[in-house]
């Protein structure tokens, strides 16, 4: 069942047709990288909790050895040593993050032996024989994350899908962003392995159907995938029209099934699961070859490198090594972008490692980016003329011009009302804006501002509760103290009374009263004295 034309396709609103520039990096097959000297492994590669270190400086590690782990109840995955060597430092280092801030990294000096030691996971040759729980455990243990975008831990996604059960498995092979070709090359060259990965997913989830969405500008890949899936009934390769961002998971689902993921929801809400092709290849590797996620295919491209190409490289490889493999820089290299020109972000230097989420490094001249109308180019920003082009291009059906207007006014209430959190930051609006407004930057600013406000609010709520509790506690403690004192006194009196008994009791009371009286007098005298002193002090002053 592999005819690609059989399926009805839907359209999503908006989208754009930038120049794709995919040819230059598909002329050569996927190269594998020589072992670099040194790897830089950021501890935190995606959202989630800060992982716990399992190694320390000076440790010798083997290839595939887990370096970090994550607590059971927390979101995240473990990180594995991509090759064998010595840990020289665990320190702050430049990481590929939009903030350009440094992050905690493990610096690993490679010994060049690429020795697995006993860290190789058991390969499962026949996946049909494996039981589900073993597979799930493997996915978790192998540190798998989604390789198509947000690097979300795959185990979480798959686990929750098995629990709820899904109808449709979507394999995202659209690769809609300009310049990037890593999925394309992977499909051309390793379609069979990818399909094994898909079969693992099918076995785990047992969906009614599995749809593979590939943009129709990748005919070779489509053919390869069709060939590889011929035996599988449930699987259908769908050739979809080329339009950015057809690869956005919500857009792809709309194209393939006509359904829309609800606002703020995830595909699981529609009983679907969406994974990238590279993720299923990584799944194959983890299960069948027993290799945790320590490498991936990454595209090095742009007019700033000599030989644009795809490289299968170890996680943690510095960009400079990747570029060296691609023949080094040309004179045009002005900007370095991780990701594509639409969604990527600019990096300040090349001593930055590739991470699990790196699918592409684009080294380009200002001119090329300007041609691509990328937000990373430098074009004069004019005021918004409310032409509505951005609205027409927005795949999330938002009103970017209004979002922008209110963001400028810092009226975040209105921004929220205009559903900013539905923005997938695809950059279509940037691309079409005749005024060259970096809209996505504004939206990210607004998002982080709103998040900060929410956090501040939560914090102040917490503070109020704690303060109120403190006050309450103080009062209670005072009451308790008073109570205790009273009881104590009573008990004392009782004891006394019990001991002397009879008329002595009366005496005691009288005595107590006299004592109290005396005390009172004394106190008053003291107070008067103090008063006098005060007055004296004052008059002196």
């Amino acid at each position: 069942m592999t005819t690609s034309s059989a399926r009805k396709l839907w359209k999503f609103h908006g989208g754009v047709h930038p120049e794709f520039h995919k040819d230059s990096s598909t002329t050569t097959s996927i190269a594998s990288l020589q072992l670099p000297k040194r790897l830089i492994l950021p501890l935190q590669q995606h959202i989630g909790a800060t992982p716990k270190l399992l190694v320390s400086v000076g440790d010798k590690v083997k290839k595939g050895q887990p370096l970090t782990e994550i607590a059971d109840d927390q979101l995240g995955t473990s990180l594995h040593a991509p090759s064998s060597g010595v840990i020289t430092a665990i320190q702050k280092h430049a990481i590929p993050h939009i903030s350009t801030l440094d992050g905690d990294c493990i610096l690993l000096e490679l010994d060049g032996e690429d020795d697995w030691g006993d860290c190789h996971l058991t390969p499962y040759d026949d996946i049909e024989q494996c039981d589900t729980s073993a597979l799930l455990a493997r996915i978790e243990k192998a540190g798998l994350v989604g390789l198509g975008g947000a690097a979300f831990p795959s185990s979480v996604k798959i686990n929750s899908s098995t629990k709820k059960g899904i109808d449709t498995l979507i394999i995202n092979a659209a690769e809609c962003e300009p310049y990037i070709t890593c999925d394309d090359m992977l499909m051309r060259e390793r379609a069979d392995e990818i399909v094994i990965g898909i079969r693992i997913l099918l076995k785990l989830l047992n969906p009614k159907q599995c749809l593979i969405g590939i943009e129709d500008n990748k005919p070779t890949a489509i053919k390869a995938m069709q060939q590889a899936t011929q035996q599988l009934d449930k699987v259908q390769v769908c050739s979809i029209p080329t339009i950015y961002p057809s690869g956005g998971e919500k857009q792809l689902i709309k194209i393939l099934t006509g359904k829309e993921v609800p606002v703020g929801g995830i595909p699981l809400d529609l009983n679907m699961l969406c994974h990238n092709v590279a993720t299923s290849y990584a799944l194959y590797k983890a299960v069948v070859e027993g290799e945790p996620l320590i490498s991936r295919v990454v595209t090095i491209t742009g007019d700033g490198v000599q030989q644009p190409q795809n490289i299968e490289a170890l996680i943690g490889t510095p960009v400079s090594d990747l570029v060296a493999q691609a023949g080094g820089y040309t004179t045009k290299a002005q900007r370095l972008v991780m990701g594509g020109p639409m969604m990527g972000f600019a990096l300040a230097n090349d001593d930055i490692p590739m991470i699990k989420a790196s699918n592409c490094f684009l080294v380009a001249s200002d001119f090329a980016l300007q041609q691509a109308n990328s937000p990373h180019s430098s074009q004069a920003q004019m005021p918004c003329i409310r032409c509505g082009k951005c609205m027409e291009a927005c795949p999330a059906d938002l009103l970017p011009q209004q979002l922008f207007w209110h963001t400028q006014a810092k009226d975040f209430e209105k921004v929220t009302e205009h559903k900013l959190n539905s923005c997938i930051e695809c950059g279509c609006c940037d691309f079409v804006c005749p005024s060259h407004i970096p809209l996505v930057s504004y939206f990210r600013f607004a998002k982080s501002e709103i998040r900060a406000q929410e956090e501040a609010l939560a914090k102040s709520d917490l503070a109020r509760k704690r303060h109120e509790f403190l006050e309450f506690r103080k009062i209670r403690e005072k009451q308790e103290r008073d109570e205790k004192r009273r009881k104590h006194k009573e008990a004392l009196q009782k004891k006394k009374a019990g001991a002397t008994a009879g008329k002595a009791k009366k005496d005691a009371i009288q005595a107590a009263m006299a004592r109290a009286k005396a005390k009172k007098v004394a106190r008053e005298a003291e107070a008067a004295k103090a008063n006098a002193k005060d007055i004296k002090n004052e008059s002196e002053a």
Binding site: Q44, I95, H97, I98, S99, L101, G103, A380, Q381, M382, P383, Q408, S435, I437, P438, S441, Y442, R444, F445, K447, S448, E449, A452, A456, K459, S460, D461, L462, A463, R464, R466, H467, F469, L470
Partner: protein
């Protein structure tokens, strides 16, 4: 003539009297206790409980605002954002932060106890309005950073000055996307740079 005045007086006095009766009745009959506005104001204040507003914490300040006794620009931790929010809520003009109070730079900080020096006197624990300090008597204390509001109230009581305020560090996770430069100011910059270039 006199009769004219009398009828005028009668009519109007009657009208006014009636009105007075009705309003007097209504004012008792429809009397409302409590003031929901105080809660709304309180929820806008930062709850730092620092007392810089000259009230004993945020809630008393909120009550004072609700009564119209003080202006809305007395809370330095809240800064302009809080003033703006209060102005919106009460529909009054936002005013700049009170000049005397505005001196302190508004960088979020947390208290950190230098543990070697701490003698475990528990004085800071008593001072903290949000119970952000833990520790037993004669044992070293620590500040729970996530609960600390940075109010600095624990600094003065400490007999050995072992508490310091440290700015909250920015990490890639807590990092905030900066506001893109305003188009017009950006353009202004060009103008300036062009002028400078020409001058040079």
């Amino acid at each position: 003539m006199a009769s004219e005045i009398i009828s005028a007086v009668l009519v109007l006095v009657g009208l006014a009297g009636l009105l007075g009766l009705v309003l007097g009745y209504a004012s008792v009959r429809f009397k409302v206790e409590g003031d929901p506005i105080t809660d709304q104001i309180d929820s806008l204040l930062p709850q730092t409980q620092c007392g810089q507003c000259s009230f004993a914490g945020c809630r008393p300040y909120a009550e004072a605002i609700a009564k119209g006794e003080v202006s809305i620009n007395q809370c330095p931790p809240g800064g302009e954002a809080t003033i703006q929010a209060l102005a919106d809520l009460l529909d009054v003009e936002a005013e700049p932060l009170d000049a005397e109070l505005a001196e302190k730079e508004n960088i979020p900080t947390v208290a950190v106890i230098i543990e070697d020096t701490c003698i475990g006197c528990t004085l800071c624990i008593q001072a903290c309005p949000v119970d952000a300090i833990v520790g037993a008597a004669k044992h070293m204390h620590t500040v729970i950073a996530s609960e600390c509001t940075g109010c600095e109230l624990c600094l003065p009581p400490c007999p050995v000055d072992c508490i310091v305020m440290e700015p909250i560090k920015e990490t890639p996770e807590s990092w905030k996307w900066p506001e893109p430069s305003h188009p017009v100011t950006a353009l202004q910059d060009i103008a300036v740079s062009v002028i400078k270039k020409e001058a040079a």
